[in-house]
């Protein structure tokens, strides 16, 4: 058949490409572009994205604009409210809160995104394997998932932190050790919903005709997954991912608040809140700023998740 001339189909062929394809837009629109177009219509999500962008660029670029050391102790200026010298005020050691907020924000956001990546990676891996392999492997993986879901999160987190903090410190240093441990623990306790979601998506997608077509063409299992199933399953996974970022930030704050996160001299939004709690009556600003930052970040990320969910859902008219 190769090299043969095409069958003459002039009578059947669409009259012209214009007529053939709905004359909506001249250029081809990819599904990703379409999702972006739909996302842009979601006002709250776009607002969330802008707020998050400002926060992220603030903590990343801020220290260059406001190059004040985070551990400059000045007892003369302790517990001051916002002023020109200290735009967000100072803490009980007279350290500049703006500088500490920016430094802490880097850690909090980094923990959030890294933990999300861990949760997504583990979840997608477990979910894909379970979704493709039916039978005992699927059952075993889902039992494992249920087992993890049944674990009480906070006590387990505390236990793991107690047990491994010191050994990790020796290997990766004080901050690095704490970071890796926190990310792994949070990610390791949040992959289960992802795994269940991915498995459910796989179970429905692998019966779709386009996957069947790939099988009929002789596509290997890996190819079916990578080329056909996974790209179509990722939409909802990304939505869950955004919410995981928010959850991880809160988790880190909780850990730091309980004194089990980073060492006490390293500021994070959570540890700042903890330190500020004893001075709520005389220096409310100290707690207000990190608290507000956590609140704003989590809210913004959740709105982005909402927007993405709507944008990925083809049934919604936007």
């Amino acid at each position: 058949m190769a090299g043969s001339t095409p069958v003459s189909l002039s009578a059947d062929a669409p009259a012209s490409p214009q007529l053939a394809v709905q004359p909506r837009k001249a250029r081809s629109i990819s599904p990703a572009l379409e999702t972006w177009r739909r996302f842009r219509r979601h006002t709250l999500a776009v607002t969330g994205a802008i707020v998050l962008l400002i926060l992220v660029s603030g903590v990343l670029l801020g220290p260059y604009v406001w190059p004040v050391a985070i551990n400059d102790i000045d007892f003369a200026a302790k517990l001051q409210g916002p002023s020109l010298a200290h735009p967000l005020g100072t803490d009980d050691l007279g350290q500049d809160l703006l500088a500490r907020m920016m430094y802490g924000g880097r850690i909090s956001l980094a923990v959030g995104f890294a933990a999300m990546l861990v949760a997504l990676t583990v979840g997608v891996l477990v979910g894909s394997v379970a979704g493709m392999a039916s039978g005992w492997l699927d059952a075993a993986l889902m039992w494992l998932t249920d087992l993890f879901l049944a674990l009480p999160t906070l006590p387990l987190l505390l236990l793991v932190m107690y047990l491994f903090r010191d050994s990790m410190k020796k290997v990766l240093g004080v901050e690095g050790g704490a970071f890796v441990l926190i990310v792994v623990v949070i990610g390791g306790l949040r992959w289960m919903p992802v795994a269940r979601l991915v498995r459910a998506q796989f179970l429905s997608l692998r019966e779709k005709e386009f996957v069947e077509a790939a099988r009929a063409l002789g596509a290997s299992k890996v190819r079916q997954v990578v080329q056909h199933i996974l790209p179509n399953a990722l939409g909802p996974v990304i939505v869950v991912g955004t919410i995981d970022v928010a959850a991880a930030i809160i988790f880190e704050s909780t850990l730091s608040f309980l004194g089990l996160g980073f060492p006490s001299d390293v500021p994070t939004w959570g540890s700042m809140l903890r330190d500020a709690k004893d001075y709520l009556d005389i220096a409310a600003h100290w707690a207000l700023f990190p608290g507000g930052a956590i609140f704003l970040t989590v809210l913004a990320i959740n709105f982005i998740g909402d927007g993405l969910r709507d944008a990925f859902d083809p049934r919604r008219v936007l």
């Binding site: 058949m1 190769a2 043969s4 095409p6 069958v7 189909l9 009578a11 059947d12 062929a13 669409p14 490409p17 053939a20 394809v21 709905q22 081809s28 629109i29 990819s30 599904p31 379409e34 779709k208 005709e209 386009f210 069947e212 077509a213 790939a214 099988r215 009929a216 063409l217 002789g218 596509a219 290997s220 190819r223 080329q227 056909h228 790209p231 179509n232």
Partner: protein, 329 residues
Amino acid sequence: MNAPLAPAEDLLKVRDLRKRFAVRGGIFSRTVDQVHAVDGVSFEIGKGETLGLVGESGCGKSTTGRCILRLIEPSSGEVWFQGNNVTRMGGDELQKLRRDMQIIFQDPYASLNPRLKVGAIIGEALTIHKLAPTQKAMEDRVVQLLETVGLQPDHMHRFPHEFSGGQRQRIGIARALAVEPKLIVCDEPVSALDVSIQAQVINLLEDLQEEFGLTYLFIAHDLSVVEHISTRVAVMYLGRVVEIAPSRELYDNPLHPYTEALLSAVPIPDPTVKRKRIMLQGDVPNPIRPPSGCHFHTRCPIARPDCAQRVPELRESKPGHWVSCHYSG
């Protein structure tokens, strides 16, 4: 079971094919019941011929098609393709078979991956079977395939959602043609399309058959479409073939009472034609507990008591005309 004679040389032979789906329930997913989707089907398809496979929803026609391609593993029975036993094939052999047998699907919306461009969809087979040594060769071949099915070369850069149903079906056909198959299983390829588009796709399938010497297994529930495109037609009811005959012969002289009822139920687009219609009572029985003996006896207008006991064999009533009924033909 005796084999119905097929004209010329057989490309595909199906022998006593069976597929049971387990119905699971209770704790530990015990198999509580079985659906007899395909219940001992035998037929053959000659080279260059089109065998129509008709029946109502749930009669097992699609499952039969998928078992032949090994997209579903048959429970028992044999499928022979060019003298090789498809049901025993593994790994490499099966991979090679994929180049000889292809499938076209019913739903043009579900059968194309929405996240791939048309070029990638059609070119996938070329990548899998390493049929295009270079990127250029790949593109040339995709363009050639697009033109073969009546689409434009620049369509390869578009996504499936930018096409109408009929055009998507053409893309699906181009994908199947990419490996230069000998047999194509057409699973209801036009039933999701509008009437005026159906004719385009049927004509295209006929042109391609002539051009490339293709053999079709044409699965459909629309009897007029099947009659038009098929050389021979097999009628299925509840997992079994009840009648096989050359297309015209089957429509002129249906022997099985089910075929007769099915044909008389097709509305004819001509108000001057008045026919006597054979009304079948009730619905198709549940395939989990199909009726004993002849599966059709519960709705059959000529059923006698022993139809509920004895399973009728498919026997040759006239040359080339096979029927599975104790009392007709």
